[in-house]
Symmetry: D2
Subunit: 406 residues, 4 copies
Amino acid sequence: MSGCPFMGRNHQLFSSNSSQPEEDDSQKGINKASKGGIVYGEYLQLDKVLNAQVLQSQQKGNRIHDEHLFIVTHQAYELWFKQILWELDSVRDLFTKNHVRDERNMLKVVSRIHRITIIFKLLVEQFAVLETMTSLDFFDFRQYLSVASGFQSFQFRLLESKIGVADHLRVAYNRQHYRDTFHGQESENLLRSLQEPSLLQLVEEWLERTPGLERDGFNFWGKLQANIEEGLKLEKQKLEEISNSEEKGDMLEDLNKQTELFTALFDPSRHEHLINKGERRLSYKALQGALMINFYREEPRFQVPFQLLTALMEIDTLMSKWRYNHVCMVHRMIGSKAGTGGSSGYCYLRSTVSDRYKVFVDLFNLATFLVPRAWVPKLDPQIHKFHYMAECNDSSYNSYSSEDSD
Amino acid sequence: MSGCPFMGRNHQLFSSNSSQPEEDDSQKGINKASKGGIVYGEYLQLDKVLNAQVLQSQQKGNRIHDEHLFIVTHQAYELWFKQILWELDSVRDLFTKNHVRDERNMLKVVSRIHRITIIFKLLVEQFAVLETMTSLDFFDFRQYLSVASGFQSFQFRLLESKIGVADHLRVAYNRQHYRDTFHGQESENLLRSLQEPSLLQLVEEWLERTPGLERDGFNFWGKLQANIEEGLKLEKQKLEEISNSEEKGDMLEDLNKQTELFTALFDPSRHEHLINKGERRLSYKALQGALMINFYREEPRFQVPFQLLTALMEIDTLMSKWRYNHVCMVHRMIGSKAGTGGSSGYCYLRSTVSDRYKVFVDLFNLATFLVPRAWVPKLDPQIHKFHYMAECNDSSYNSYSSEDSD
Amino acid sequence: MSGCPFMGRNHQLFSSNSSQPEEDDSQKGINKASKGGIVYGEYLQLDKVLNAQVLQSQQKGNRIHDEHLFIVTHQAYELWFKQILWELDSVRDLFTKNHVRDERNMLKVVSRIHRITIIFKLLVEQFAVLETMTSLDFFDFRQYLSVASGFQSFQFRLLESKIGVADHLRVAYNRQHYRDTFHGQESENLLRSLQEPSLLQLVEEWLERTPGLERDGFNFWGKLQANIEEGLKLEKQKLEEISNSEEKGDMLEDLNKQTELFTALFDPSRHEHLINKGERRLSYKALQGALMINFYREEPRFQVPFQLLTALMEIDTLMSKWRYNHVCMVHRMIGSKAGTGGSSGYCYLRSTVSDRYKVFVDLFNLATFLVPRAWVPKLDPQIHKFHYMAECNDSSYNSYSSEDSD
Amino acid sequence: MSGCPFMGRNHQLFSSNSSQPEEDDSQKGINKASKGGIVYGEYLQLDKVLNAQVLQSQQKGNRIHDEHLFIVTHQAYELWFKQILWELDSVRDLFTKNHVRDERNMLKVVSRIHRITIIFKLLVEQFAVLETMTSLDFFDFRQYLSVASGFQSFQFRLLESKIGVADHLRVAYNRQHYRDTFHGQESENLLRSLQEPSLLQLVEEWLERTPGLERDGFNFWGKLQANIEEGLKLEKQKLEEISNSEEKGDMLEDLNKQTELFTALFDPSRHEHLINKGERRLSYKALQGALMINFYREEPRFQVPFQLLTALMEIDTLMSKWRYNHVCMVHRMIGSKAGTGGSSGYCYLRSTVSDRYKVFVDLFNLATFLVPRAWVPKLDPQIHKFHYMAECNDSSYNSYSSEDSD
């Protein structure tokens, strides 16, 4: 047994005094790099990327070593923000243009949303690098930054808007609207992003299309309401039969809470009320679709949609962890004084670690409405077949073969 | 109790229907960003960094979504490589210019080496992002890269050289010297880096200066040899007194191995032999210094030096984990076929995950030479005092106050 | 807006001098814990788990602080190994009993395999904790461990066997068969695990069932072979028409390599040969199924199966990273001397970081056989419908509703 | 070149058909495990640890797969909490008994605190494993847990108390004192931990001993106050000389804020006021010591103490990240309804992610009091020498040689 697959033999060394070893697979390639063609550094435009580190402290004649880390870390954040926006735009595009192929696009949508979560995990880790800078090191060059502040990341605001952070739920920044920080092209881009459908809105529309919600079809919501009401009634009867005790009292109290909860769930005006308060974001019908996907997640038709809902919550969770890690770092770096951009730094940032900024808050709160399996309406076998027919026609296959044109 | 420190009250919202809340600390800053001065995007030169993503597939009229990820990931790697080089150069500089202030620089040296390890940890994690790309996604744009290969990262080669990866221990790449991949300025820079002292060489010189090694002073090495020989002799006597058994046989065998091991340790010609084989890299005297620091690591004088030795091993370990993670990713992405740059990819990379590339291999192998505490020579109180006098003179204080000029 | 959802108000403090705040949602629960029922510590059997740390050094009258870390870390590893075995057994069970419901089980299978990868990621991270112990700290209690070695983890061997590490591909340990380390019940369990179908074997059987492989049906393999042969012929014709040059020579060489590669792929005897060498593990038909799932991964029918193949590679990758991290730690801890259990530690462990131990090596090497999309046979629409009918009958629904009985 | 160091040759396989390879280093050890002595499983008491997973759902006849994960994850948390307590107790012990050897213990103290931070990092990561359980999976067995809640981890409360979380700053839990959850031995242990000095108190006493604080000696605080007052006066003079402008106004405002800030810093009654509010925790003298260590961190005498202060902040940060990750997981798992133990779960937990729970909050806020290097009092050379003399006497050496008796 020889060659690379199991890495058995010695590898050739440059040292002249080693006796000529047998040639092995690691030496058999042709070194194309020496033959021309685009090379690594040009491809990555490293002349731009690696010449973009200008230390303000050095410009002012007092080079502070750690400013380089500050710059590189922020640039790395911005690079990854750009990648997240790239994925986000492609997902929004898939949702916008391709209703008819919902299912076929699902793997791509889930994979790209998943990729965003993986990038956010890295961004949360990345604070560890900046945290190697002490507050004393930072103090040495803070003065040169004058007004440059982390608050001003245009891409991060854009990203929030495109995912669906609600403008009217944002925390004000020094009594100013957050968009006032940006001018010219940036300000316009932000404004435009608010006019385009956000990921939240697109997901909402997709959820509203969940097969099985049709009142004149499977009528999931109607059936679910009937089952739950029946279930709660039976529970109550069972409870009333047992003899009085403190435990019975507790159980009745619990049951009453449950009943209230579900009564509210099936009351559309209650939903509107919560939306106005900012505690719900999805339309009533989309909420129904989401609950449906949760209950039937093992149906082949709903497996990948269920993964999508999970991944969307993951984005919210990771963005809030990112915010919280940011807060922790700022606390170490500047204490409770004002940040470099004039904001009252720590306090402002801390106030953004809030459920107000959770876009898919409704998906989290679905956990409140879980019911015993027996209460879930039995599935109509038709649900499997319906959508499947549509996909197999020729036009959908053709569009598949040119799938890179997204 | 009010204000931010415990985040007690509601934060102002943009929504007009909220009744006017009390003002809180998060709104008291002056928004300097709106007053001019260098802004975030200019400071970070984002026009350069965020406009450096040109997809070859798009240039050729067939935009492949995932090529963007490929580019951004590699650019992020290069940004961090630049930061590592920045820290590495500063550490090499501190060692080169500042013998006299060894101790005072130690915190700075250890902190910066530690920062390099934190960055490498991030770089190891970062593979998770690229691993969201499947081999099929990669296949779709591999053809457009023609010859651009990960092998060609100039900064990574430079980094290896500056740390001290030995030129003659490198694995050959398609029978070519690794430096032949680079041309012009890059080739010259690589060559020059080989002429400057590497981190390994500077650490070696610093270890040779370890106080206590002086033969006419504390004479650590001489005392240690005497103690160990005495210790082994006593062990042998004890062993010979017990009655014969299989266990006694095993213990004698162990003791003989120990004795061989230490005989070899105290034999300078054996050391030369191992250096010639590439299995040791430090000079004999530096090795003695490193062992000394290990044994007396709790002495105030040696606490931070001990941390430095640990951090140096960490760099080696993390670089080899980086290589191994790279290998794993390449296996998924291209199987065992040739890589984009013509190398036999996987096999070449796998061969670089070798102890040949461990620069501080001697520090790892110190673990082989640990002895019972009783055998460690008692410390000479002079060792504490000697170096301390030197630091407290005026000139050293002055150089402290201008410490940022490194 | 009040209550928790946006965390608006102050929270009640114990301090008596705080004026009575409004009650908020965080105080409205009933503290059931004070009412009886199984409590946290009993539920987790903490009396067992937290009283299982007996330091050998302390038993011998010389308590060494760091031995506690050594014990706890290994116990945490074993706890997680048990969880991995739990998931692995459930997945093997799902595959064994439920052919007919393949698709419906897919989400569960993928989620549990995914969970195993998440646990392995943690286990890779977990080395960081043990690495806070220096070789000197370890040296202080190594002697008391006598023969207890990390090599002896029964659960880890079991886990390897159940996934499908091939007995005959394992590296020998001090010339002994690895199973000789275990006795009695453990030895029997290991042996039995070799007689049960491994995950590899179950996945193989599942892949062989991939719809579309039927020679008298869609005949994927036959169609693919025809397309590739035709494709390569056309490529060759195109190449021969261009005028001679070095480039043409290179391209012809590449094309010849490609042709060889695919000729070998479609040669069943070549497959047998590679299986005998241990370089392939899947049956020929299973390999075909895996390639089919790769090519048609966006078909709704194949989306989750494709995720499964990805997750299986992830397990292999993470297990090899685990091994490599283990090697790195051992190098720091004991250098190149023998380990505590008598093995030549570092060298033995290093030899297990080998592709021999990659169970799903075939899935990695699929990357070698990717072809342009145009060469992939057009899909037969029947493939969607076939399996779907089966699921919607009553019996499958019934088994769904009792899905917890797995 | 042969043998393991560079892993050059093939490794022996079990397969009988491999021709006899040369023996290599990985096979030369003696397999002591087969000779008796304590074996791995006994040493780790795996019979206890691996038989402590009893599923309540299974007990009730309805085994739910994911309950196993729930149990194992919590047990892993508890194992690590035990390890953290082990390190914490040893550090508290070192501080309690060893004033005289402060410096010599510093490496040990810092290493153990650092280890705690590494464990906490793992515990933060560990949520990723539990997050693979969906709210639906959890719902299936929540009912069987009745009252067992994460709130009831005795070890975690103990850990908080031993670090120094202030009893009177804790958030109440369902209007109850947190200690009421515990009974018998646990309750007593918690109470006793409140009577022993916490880590915060021991660090405080150690900071108060910082050499250089003596009023009749170096008098750091006095000198610092004088320098700062002088510095601010000069700044003001410079500012007043420039002509009026908006910018001048801003700068004057900034300077006034600075002046207020430092006036408050040097006012002991202000310090008392903040302590009463719970916004400061350290004594006034300890705060001075901490600031001194920050300013002179590059002095050999203060390098490791500075690392200690950094590591203590790290603990606070990681504990609050742990709390926040816990909150995020609970939100996914149960929404905003009551938790298993009857608490209003999410809301209660969210309220504990508060600076109230930051023990070393003063160290963070030091960042507020940084001043230009020129204002830092020049160091008295005596500070280096004084403490060093004390260490070199015989008794300290003797205590060194028996360092394992901690």
